[in-house]
Symmetry: C2
Subunit: 201 residues, 2 copies
DNA sequence: CCAAAACGTTAACAAAAGATAAGGAATTGG
DNA sequence: CCAATTCCTTATCTTTTGTTAACGTTTTGG
């Protein structure tokens, strides 16, 4: 993956939240890192403080917890999405979840230290605060939608929703990860699929 | 409720996120509203754009959806907490949930229009962006914790957690609201309680 | 290329949750 | 103050999910 091209992709993505002029971008750029994460390697680990957030240029990751010795997948990120163990990153406390590359994954990263430097930089501070606000609001809304689906819908309904909106997840993730993402066991998801198929035909 | 005292409480609460000096506060204050919400009256309604966020000075509210004609309670806010139908407020689209006062509730409010004015005000813009970022990050973390509990825990475990951390909710909310908040039916919560009692003794 | 691991389905049984209804206690609203 | 409503529990029955295990298929990694 060509870093120059990756930067272009990232800058384009950021316009969703904020537009940096060339002078600002020149400074911003200097605070970025690049990271190649081999398949199955971790971006964040339980018990460790997450020191960076990332932007997926190519590849994908899953978020998971370990409960009773078992991995429970919680979330996924794909190309052109941000990645971080947000709580740990923001609070500087050890995190509870792992983030793992599911294929060779190329990331642009910003360390906590560099983010603070940009937030304190006279020429960037205002836009960085705004950027942070808009990103946090964006993810807040995502969480709100997801919480609502857990409160008001059955696992089967959540799976049906996913069928219409979860192209990447459905096509690129193994089913047992999807099951935990929906809040159920892999066996249960397999049964739901059969139920749906038998109704459909 | 005395508005002057309420403003003092609100200013103190805000220091959790940001400290306004007297000049800034003088401007900020002018953008606030006060609202008395009688028991059972709504702060936000399904299908309407939520035009304000609030700060609960006294009282409490619940958030709920209507699904298949039934009310499903999703969340609560008590004294010294913010209230809004966030997604609707932020996106200016009709919201999906109701917010209802559970007792006579006194709120300090900020309209979307006033918030935008403050975000655009030269003397406030920077701190308001920062304030917005920190608030959104705070709630992001709350959502993250709650999602994690739905993915990794059983309803019984979530109720046990609530017993240690949910004083306000347990003492001030009827049990059938708490049940939906935990993602289960009231009948099921009643059974869980019995199960716990029979184990405890 | 092959052995090992991972994956999805199915079955059988147990545990839990949903739906419905009934009864009694507590609350409420004129 | 009293009738009506709301609330919680309990019981019964149905549906769904969890658990464990087995089996065949696919994928993986040396």
């Amino acid at each position: 993956m060509d870093p120059l091209n990756a930067l272009t992709v990232f800058r384009e993505y950021l316009t969703k939240f904020i537009v940096f002029d060339d002078a600002e971008w020149a400074i911003f750029k200097e605070h970025l890192g690049f990271r190649m994460l081999k398949k199955k390697k971790h971006f964040a680990e339980q018990g460790s403080v997450c020191n960076e957030f990332g932007f997926v240029v190519k590849g994908s990751v899953r978020y998971y917890y370990i409960k009773d010795g078992e991995e429970i997948t919680n979330y996924f990120s794909f190309e052109k999405e941000l990645v971080s163990s947000y709580k740990s990153f923001l609070t500087r406390q050890p995190g509870f979840n792992y983030i793992q590359a599911l294929e060779d994954t190329f990331l642009i990263t910003v360390s906590y230290h560099d983010l603070q430097a940009m937030l304190a930089h006279p020429l960037l501070a205002y836009k960085m605060e705004r950027f942070g606000r808009l990103v946090a609001e964006y993810y807040l809304i995502c969480y709100d939608d997801r919480m609502a689906s857990f409160i008001t819908k059955t696992p089967e309904e959540r799976y049906l929703d996913l069928l219409t909106t979860g192209r990447d997840i459905l096509q690129r993730m193994p089913q047992h990860y999807i099951a935990h993402f929906l809040g159920i066991t892999p066996v249960s998801l397999s049964r739901i699929r059969r139920r749906i198929l038998s109704v459909a035909k």
